[in-house]
C-alpha cells in the first residue's frame, strides 16, 4: 500500500478531513497547516491609570479591614468610648443612606422595588438581634484561648478578602461567603471586649463597614468616579493614620502594601502583557459564538 501512493503523491492533494480515505499516514499535515495560526486575538491593551483606578476596590477593602481592626484595638484598650463610636457610626450611616439615594436620584431603589419600610425593618432587625445577643456574645468565648480567637479572626478576615466580589468574574468569588466570614470574625473579636455594650457596638460597626460601606462605594464608583478617588485616598490615609498610632512598623508595611497594590501591580501587569503569547488555530475546541435563540424558537 505504501509503494503506490508515492508515485501519485504529487497529484493527490492532502485534505484535512477524516471521512475520506487518503494515501497519507494518520499524523500527516500539510504545509498550509500553520497558515491559520493567530496570536493574542483576545489580548487587551491596558492604560496605566485606568488599572490604578480599578485597583482602588482592593485598596478600599484592605483599608476597611484595617480600620475595623484598629477600632477594635482601641475599644479593647479602652481608648475609645463605645458611645462615641455608636454615635459616629449612626451619623455616618444616616449620611451614607441619604447619599445612597441622592447619587442616582432614587433610580436603583425604583428598580429593586425596595421600600423605606423594608430598610427600617432591616435596621431594626440588626439592632435588636445584636443587642439581644450581645450578653451571650460576651460570654461566648470566655473559656477559649485568646490566641485561638485571634488566629480564627485572622483566618476569617483573610477569607473575607479572598472571596470578596472585586468585580472579577471568577468561580472563587462569593460575596455571601465573604460577608459571612467577616461577620464571624467580628463576632469572635467582639466576644473579647470587656462589656456587652462594647460587643454590641463592635458587631453593629462591623455590619456598617463590611456590608453597607461596599454598597455605597460601588454606587460612588459608578456615578462619580472623581469623588470616589478622593474618598479612597481619604479612607486610605485615615486607615494609615490609625495604624500609625498603634504601630509604626505595621503602618509602614501597610503603606508599602497599598502602594504596591495600587501602583506597582498595574505597572507589572502592563509590562507582562508584552510577553503574552496566546496562539489560536484550527486545533482549538469548537466555540459556539452565535446566538442559539434563533434555532430554539
Amino acid at each position: 500500500m505504501s509503494a503506490e501512493p508515492e508515485t501519485q503523491a504529487e497529484e493527490i492533494r492532502w485534505q484535512k478531513v477524516l471521512y475520506e480515505r487518503q494515501p497519507f499516514p494518520d499524523n500527516y499535515v500539510d504545509q498550509r497547516f500553520l497558515e491559520e495560526l493567530r496570536k493574542n486575538i483576545h489580548a487587551r491593551k491596558y492604560r496605566y491609570w485606568a488599572v490604578v483606578f480599578e485597583s482602588s476596590v482592593v485598596v478600599q477593602q484592605l483599608c476597611s479591614v484595617c480600620v475595623f481592626v484598629v477600632i477594635w484595638w482601641y475599644m479593647d484598650e479602652g481608648l475609645l468610648a463605645p458611645h462615641w463610636l455608636f454615635g459616629t457610626g449612626l451619623a455616618s450611616s444616616l449620611v451614607g443612606y441619604i447619599l445612597f439615594d441622592l447619587l442616582d436620584g432614587g433610580e436603583g431603589r425604583r428598580k429593586s422595588g425596595r421600600t423605606r419600610w423594608a430598610d427600617l425593618k432591616s435596621a431594626l432587625v440588626f439592632i435588636t438581634f445584636t443587642y439581644g445577643f450581645s450578653p451571650i456574645l460576651k460570654t461566648l468565648t470566655e473559656s477559649v484561648s485568646t490566641d485561638t480567637i485571634y488566629a480564627m479572626s485572622v483566618f476569617m478576615l483573610l477569607g473575607h478578602l479572598v472571596f470578596f466580589d472585586y468585580g472579577a468574574n471568577a468561580a472563587i468569588v462569593s460575596s455571601t461567603l465573604s460577608l459571612n466570614m467577616a461577620i464571624f470574625a467580628s463576632v469572635c473579636l467582639a466576644s473579647r471586649l470587656p462589656r456587652s455594650l462594647h460587643a454590641f457596638i463592635m458587631v453593629s460597626f462591623a455590619i456598617q463597614i463590611f456590608a453597607l460601606w461596599p454598597m455605597l462605594q460601588k454606587k460612588l464608583k459608578a456615578r462619580t468616579p472623581r469623588s470616589y478617588v478622593g474618598v479612597t485616598l481619604l479612607f486610605a490615609f485615615s486607615a494609615l493614620a490609625g495604624l500609625l498610632s498603634i504601630s509604626v512598623v505595621g503602618a509602614t508595611l501597610f503603606a508599602l502594601l497599598l502602594v504596591s497594590i495600587s501602583c506597582l501591580c498595574p505597572f507589572y501587569l502592563i509590562r507582562l502583557q508584552l510577553f503574552k503569547e496566546n496562539i489560536h488555530g484550527p486545533w482549538d475546541e469548537a466555540e459556539i459564538k452565535e446566538d442559539l435563540s434563533r434555532f430554539l424558537s
Binding site: 438581634f129 460570654t139 473559656s143 484561648s145 462569593s174 455571601t176 461567603l177 459571612n180 464571624f184 463576632v187
Partner: protein, 581 residues
C-alpha cells in the same frame, strides 16, 4: 441403571417366602417392606396387599421370592419358587437367596432389561442395600421441602430417590401393625414395636388429652377475651402496655399456649414438632420460674432485696450528682461555655433531686410490690425476667430523661449548624430537588444566620459533652436490658424438644444417608448397609427455632452510630419519620 433392592435388616433371618414391597421405576429400585411366609393362599396375600394399599396409598406388590436355605438345597423348593413368578406376575421378578452361611447371598432379576448394558450378566446389575426399617420409618428427612406431598399419591416424578424410599416406608406403617404372633391368614415378617405395654399408657394419655385440651382452650380464650377488653385499650393504658416488656412476654406466652392446646390435630410433622418444642419450652420456663420462686420466698430474701434496692437507687442518684458536678466544673480540661454549663448542670441536678424524693416516697411500699412481683415467677422465668427488665427501666427513668433532653438539645444544634453552614456558604437545601442549591440571601438573613452560627459553634462542645455522657449512661442501661431480653429470647425460641431428640434419638432427624460396603465380590451382588446421617445441631436450631417476641433492634451498627452522631433518639423511642415507613 443398576437395580437396587432395599432389604430390611430385620428380615435377614426370616424363613423363606415372598418379598412384598414397592417398585419405584424412576430410580429402578425395589423397596422391600416385608416377607410373607409359607404356607399362604395367593388370593389372601393379594387381598391383604389391596387393603394396605387402600389405607396407605402406596402401590404395594409382590416383588419376588425370598429363599433362606438352612439345610441342603432342595431342588423342589427352587422349582416351586420359580413357579410362583407365574402366579404373581411382576416385572422385574426378584429372586433373593441366602445360603447356609450368612455370608453368601445371591440375587437374580428376571424380566429386567438394563437399558445401558444389555450384554452384561444379570448378577452384576443388582445391588442389595440393607436398611433399618425402624429408623427409616421414624426418621424425618431434611430438608422437608424435598419430601413429596402426601396428597400427590403415587405420582412422584419430581421426588428424589431417597425421599421416595423414606416416604414409602413411612406411609406403609399400616403394614407393620400386624403382630408376629397374630393368627392371621397371612404370616408376615417385618419390624415391630417391642414396647406394647408402654403404648397402652400412651393410648390413655391420648384419650385423656382431648378433654383437657378443650378445657384449657376455654380458659385461655377467657383470659384473652379479658385482655382484649375495651377498658385495657384506652389511650394511656394501651400505650403503657406496649412499652412494658412483661406484657409483651405474657401475650407471647398466651399465644403459644393457645397454639399448644388447640384440640385440632397437627397437620404435618413440622407443626407437631413446633407444638412439642413450645410445650417443652413452656414446661422448662415454668420449672425454672418455680425454682426461682422457692428460692426467693425462703429465708426472707424478699426483705433483703427490698432493703438493698432503695440504697442502690440512692447511690446511683448520688453518683449522678457527682458526675454532674464534675461536668459543671472543667471536665477533663475541656473548654466549655461556663454559663450554659451551669444552666444545664442545675437543670439536671434539680431533676435528680425530684427523683430521689420520688424514690423515698415509694420506699415503704417496695417490699410489698416485690413480694407480689415474686409471685409472678410461677408463670415462668421469662415473665420474672421481663418484670426485672421493666423494674430496671423504671428505676433508671431519670437517666432516660437526661438522655432525651441531651439528645434533643444536641439534635437541635446539629440540625441548626448543618443548615446554617449551608447559609454560611450561600447555599440552601432544595426540598423539591433533594439537593443543595445556591441561593441569594438578604443582608439581614445573612447577618442573623451567621450570628446564630457563631453562637452555636461555640456552644456545641458543651452540649455535645452532656449528650455524650448521658448517652453512655443510657447505653449501659440498654445493654443490661438487652442482655435480659436476650436470655428471655433464648428460652422462648430455643427448640428444646428437637434438640433433645437429636441428642437421644439421632436418627429421628435425618440429613441424609451414607452407605457402608458389606461385601463386594465378583459374581455376587454388591451388598451395602444404609445408615442415617443425623442433622447437625446448628441446622436443628435453625430449622426448628420458634418465632420470638419480635422486639429485635431494627437497625444495623452503622445506622446506630449515625443515629447517635446526629442525636436521634434510639431505642425504645421511634422518630415520627420511622413510623410512616
Amino acid at each position: 441403571m443398576v437395580l437396587k433392592a432395599f432389604f430390611p435388616t430385620c428380615c435377614t433371618s426370616a424363613d423363606s417366602g415372598l418379598l412384598v414391597g414397592r417398585w419405584v421405576p424412576e430410580q429402578s429400585s425395589a423397596v422391600i417392606l416385608a416377607v410373607v411366609h409359607f404356607p399362604f393362599i395367593p388370593i389372601q396375600v393379594k387381598e391383604l396387599l389391596a387393603q394396605v394399599q387402600q389405607t396407605s396409598q402406596v402401590g404395594l406388590a409382590v416383588l419376588g421370592t425370598w429363599c433362606h436355605r438352612r439345610q441342603e438345597p432342595e431342588e423342589s423348593l427352587g422349582r416351586f419358587l420359580e413357579g410362583l413368578g407365574a402366579i404373581f406376575s411382576h416385572e422385574p421378578w426378584l429372586q433373593l437367596c441366602r445360603e447356609k452361611g450368612s455370608k453368601l447371598w445371591s440375587c437374580k432379576a428376571t424380566g429386567w432389561q438394563a437399558p445401558t448394558s444389555p450384554g452384561a450378566p444379570s448378577e452384576d446389575q443388582v445391588m442389595i442395600i440393607f436398611y433399618d426399617q425402624r429408623k427409616v420409618l421414624l426418621s424425618q428427612l431434611h430438608p422437608p421441602a424435598a419430601l413429596p406431598d402426601c396428597q400427590a399419591g403415587d405420582a412422584m416424578a419430581s421426588a428424589t430417590g431417597l425421599a421416595a424410599i423414606f416416604d414409602t416406608v413411612a406411609r406403609s406403617e399400616v403394614l407393620f401393625q400386624s403382630d408376629r404372633f397374630d393368627e392371621g391368614p397371612v404370616r408376615l415378617s417385618h419390624w415391630q414395636s417391642e414396647g406394647v405395654e408402654a403404648s397402652i399408657l400412651v393410648e390413655v394419655a391420648k384419650w385423656a388429652s382431648g378433654p383437657i385440651c378443650l378445657l384449657l382452650t376455654y380458659l385461655l380464650s377467657l383470659v384473652s377475651a379479658a385482655s382484649t377488653c375495651r377498658f385495657f385499650n384506652l389511650w394511656p393504658l394501651s400505650f403503657i402496655w406496649s412499652k412494658l416488656s412483661t406484657c409483651e412476654q405474657l401475650r407471647y406466652r398466651l399465644e403459644q399456649l393457645t397454639f399448644i392446646f388447640n384440640p385440632q390435630k397437627a397437620e404435618n410433622p413440622s407443626q407437631l414438632m413446633r407444638k412439642a418444642n413450645m410445650f417443652v419450652s413452656v414446661l422448662l420456663d415454668v420449672a425454672l420460674g418455680l425454682t426461682l420462686l422457692s428460692w426467693l420466698h425462703g429465708k426472707d430474701r424478699i426483705e433483703q432485696l427490698a432493703d438493698a434496692l432503695v440504697p442502690v437507687a440512692d447511690r446511683v442518684a448520688e453518683e449522678l450528682q457527682h458526675l454532674l458536678q464534675w461536668l459543671m466544673g472543667a471536665p477533663a480540661g475541656l473548654k466549655m461555655n461556663r454559663a450554659l454549663d451551669q444552666v444545664l448542670g442545675r437543670f439536671f441536678l434539680y431533676h435528680i433531686h425530684l427523683w430521689i424524693s420520688y424514690i423515698h416516697l415509694m420506699s415503704p411500699f417496695i417490699e410489698r410490690i416485690l413480694w407480689h412481683m415474686g409471685l409472678s415467677a410461677c408463670l415462668g422465668l421469662t415473665v420474672a425476667l421481663s418484670i426485672l427488665s421493666d423494674i430496671i427501666a423504671l428505676l433508671t427513668f431519670h437517666i432516660y430523661c437526661f438522655y432525651v433532653y441531651g439528645a434533643r438539645l444536641y439534635c437541635l444544634k446539629i440540625c441548626g449548624l448543618s443548615s446554617l453552614w449551608r447559609l454560611f456558604r450561600g447555599k440552601k437545601w432544595n426540598v423539591l430537588r433533594q439537593r443543595v442549591d445556591s441561593c441569594s440571601y438578604d443582608l439581614d438573613q445573612l447577618f442573623i444566620g451567621t450570628l446564630l452560627f457563631t453562637i452555636l459553634v461555640f456552644l456545641l462542645p458543651t452540649t455535645a459533652l452532656y449528650y455524650l455522657v448521658f448517652t453512655l449512661l443510657r447505653l449501659l442501661v440498654v445493654t443490661v436490658q438487652g442482655l435480659i431480653h436476650l436470655l428471655v429470647d433464648l428460652i422462648n425460641s430455643l427448640p428444646l424438644y428437637a434438640l433433645g431428640l437429636r441428642l437421644c434419638r439421632p436418627y429421628r432427624l435425618a440429613a441424609g444417608v451414607k452407605f457402608r460396603v458389606l461385601e463386594h465380590e465378583a459374581g455376587r451382588p454388591l451388598r451395602l448397609l444404609m445408615q442415617i446421617n443425623p442433622l447437625p445441631y446448628g441446622r436443628v436450631v435453625h430449622i426448628y427455632r420458634l418465632p420470638s417476641c419480635g422486639c429485635h433492634p431494627k437497625h444495623s451498627w452503622s445506622s446506630l452510630c449515625r443515629k447517635l452522631f446526629f442525636g436521634e433518639l434510639i431505642y425504645p423511642w421511634r422518630q415520627r419519620g420511622d413510623k410512616q415507613d
